[in-house]
């Protein structure tokens, strides 16, 4: 059992004076300290959090409302800028960088009384599926310390799994919220592209980057989404939030159809994982849905599309790290050109450099049409197939990942093998649809997540299905 009540109850009790924000923050900090061995956290924001907690308690004492998340502690992946706190994206090039402004998502959570208590580990710049690409250390899976927690939001997922806070923020560019949620056994939600402002979040691949939320239940994730969602002038890609909100979770599932994705089965995934997901699909029928098989023929090449577009966008986004305006700068450089190449060469880790190199290649003249433009066009084909599928089904279903959490070191010397960990998650990012990982059970003692997807902007219905699924799955 979790030591945390549902988030809505926590906030309500803090507002009612039955709990204090100060006590919740101390509880979170004590848990973080007690679970240090799992290396989920890069930095705790103890003083900042305590100061905010006192202010929230004072607001409530004065008879005012502290918000829908009053006093609720949370943990942010370390690629979110939190004003006055170190933000590294787990990279050496950003070591020592203190956020001079704040992410809009953090701003919105704080405006409703939430308190950021720590920043979590990730694969540097969110490039990876295991946290092994962190320039600092690898986070350990709570179910088996010799295994990875998944990634890139591995620290956030472990923080939730170990009860360090009621919820954590992640990002999801190709599966980085859902896959670690699957590997540690919590809920991980990737909203429709554009639903949450990314201002103040370290950019990875802008055409697929979204902010994700991790928590123990879908209800908790839905409340957090409800607070963060909506159009924002600082991120021109944002869309309006659903006027009905996301917290009802009561959509009637009778008459709705769930499409079991044919291409995600019988293609080399762990048979025990496949069996568990198929049995989860059976159980889902209790909610009233009908389950049918659907085919998305282009899905098997989605990963190839992703590993052209993502590095292309990464190479562009990481060009801002030039050693001049912020971040690591090489002391030995004698001219500007050397300052660029040395600062970037030393400051970036292996995977960041690998992606910059691939991106530079696929965008270079002579190769642009064959790689980048071709990938963009296959992306269109994939989108068309999803749109077509959603004319016959309301949701799509499959595994989150082909395996349970793999051993630390198993893929770390084979980048292509590591990329294959994203094979079932990247499509939702390329198409821009919402997707969620909910715990479906265990295989050999390790958690397995069930992935559900819905059409763009059907986030509320997807969360409703996930919440109703939770009740029948584990």
């Amino acid at each position: 059992m979790s030591q945390w009540l549902p988030i809505a109850d926590l906030a309500q009790k803090v507002q009612a004076g039955e709990l204090t924000a100060v006590a919740l923050v101390e509880q979170a900090l004590a848990t973080i300290a007690a679970k240090q061995e799992f290396k989920a956290i890069i930095v705790t924001l103890s003083e900042r959090a305590r100061t905010r907690a006192k202010a929230i308690d004072a607001t409530i004492k004065a008879g005012q409302s502290a918000g829908r998340l009053a006093g609720v502690p949370f943990i942010a992946k370390d690629n979110f800028l939190v004003f006055g706190a170190a933000t590294t994206a787990a990279s050496n090039i950003l070591k020592g960088f203190n956020a001079p402004y704040q992410a809009v998502a953090i701003e919105k959570l704080e405006a409703e009384g939430a308190i950021c208590v720590a920043k979590a580990n990730l694969d540097a710049f969110a490039h990876g599926a295991s946290t092994e690409n962190s320039d600092f250390f690898t986070t350990l899976n709570p179910h088996d310390k010799t295994r990875v927690p998944g990634g890139s939001s591995g620290g956030s997922a472990v923080a939730v799994a170990l009860d360090m806070a009621p919820f954590a923020l992640g990002t999801d560019t190709g599966g980085s919220t859902r896959q670690p949620a699957s590997f540690v056994g919590c809920v991980g939600f990737k909203p429709t592209y554009g639903l949450i402002s990314r201002s103040g979040v370290v950019a990875m691949a802008s055409s697929t980057d979204v902010i994700g939320a991790l928590a123990r239940t879908t209800a908790d994730v839905a409340l957090v989404l409800d607070v963060m969602a909506g159009k924002d002038n600082l991120d021109g890609t944002t869309i309006d939030a659903d006027p009905a909100g996301y917290t009802a979770l009561t959509t009637d599932m009778h008459g709705k159809k769930v499409g079991l994705i044919k291409e995600y089965f019988g293609q080399g995934a762990d048979p025990a994982v496949e069996a568990l997901i198929k049995s989860a699909a059976e159980k889902l029928k209790v909610t009233g849905v009908e389950v049918v098989e659907v085919s998305l023929p282009t899905l098997p090449v989605a990963l190839a599309v992703y590993y052209i577009l993502c590095p292309a966008e990464v190479s562009s986004n990481l060009s801002r790290y030039d050693g001049q305006r912020f971040g690591f700068t090489s002391a030995s450089a004698t001219d500007l050109e050397q300052s660029y190449t040395q600062s970037r060469g030393v400051g970036f880790g292996k995977e960041a450099k690998r992606r910059i190199m691939i991106g530079t290649y696929v965008l270079s003249s002579g190769y642009y049409d064959a790689y980048y433009k071709k990938a963009q066009t296959v992306r269109t084909k994939l989108i068309n197939e999803f749109n077509e599928a959603f004319t016959t089904v309301d949701f799509l279903l499959g595994p989150v990942a082909p395996t349970t959490a793999f051993k630390i070191g198993a893929n770390s010397n084979d980048p292509l093998q590591m990329y294959l960990a994203d094979v079932m998650t990247v499509a939702a990012n390329l198409v821009g649809v919402p997707a969620i990982s909910v715990p479906a059970g265990l295989v050999d003692g390790l958690p397995v997540g069930l992935q559900l997807m819905a059409p763009q902007r059907a986030d509320a219905a997807l969360l409703a299905l996930a919440a109703q699924a939770e009740a029948v799955l584990v």
Binding site: L336, I358, G432
Partner: protein, 97 residues
């Protein structure tokens, strides 16, 4: 079959402004060739009549008021992360020899 040569890797590193170690030059040569080999499978996909996707929101011409917003940050806040500051300005190394 794509096989990147040492010269290809060095050219890419130069374009991307990255100093690479000797080990990295060798490793990236092999790894990038493998990754490009993997993504080659897209060449076989028929995309006749389809146009490339640049973005998935369908939003066009997103505008906002052109106004000054005071976020309360001082120039000192914003310069705090700069490696070298001189007289309130970012100092860079010599560009022309």
């Amino acid at each position: 079959m794509v096989k990147l040569s040492r010269a290809d890797i060095l050219k890419l590193a130069r374009l991307a402004r990255l100093d690479l170690s000797e080990d990295e030059i060798v490793e990236y040569g092999t790894e990038l060739s493998e990754i490009l080999q993997y993504v080659e499978q897209l060449q076989a996909v028929d995309v006749t009549g389809l146009i490339p996707t640049q973005q998935v929101t369908g939003l066009v011409n997103v505008e906002r008021e052109d106004e000054i917003v005071d976020y309360g940050y001082t120039p000192a806040d914003l310069l705090a992360n700069v490696p070298q500051v001189q007289a309130g300005q970012i100092k860079v190394r010599r560009m022309i020899g």
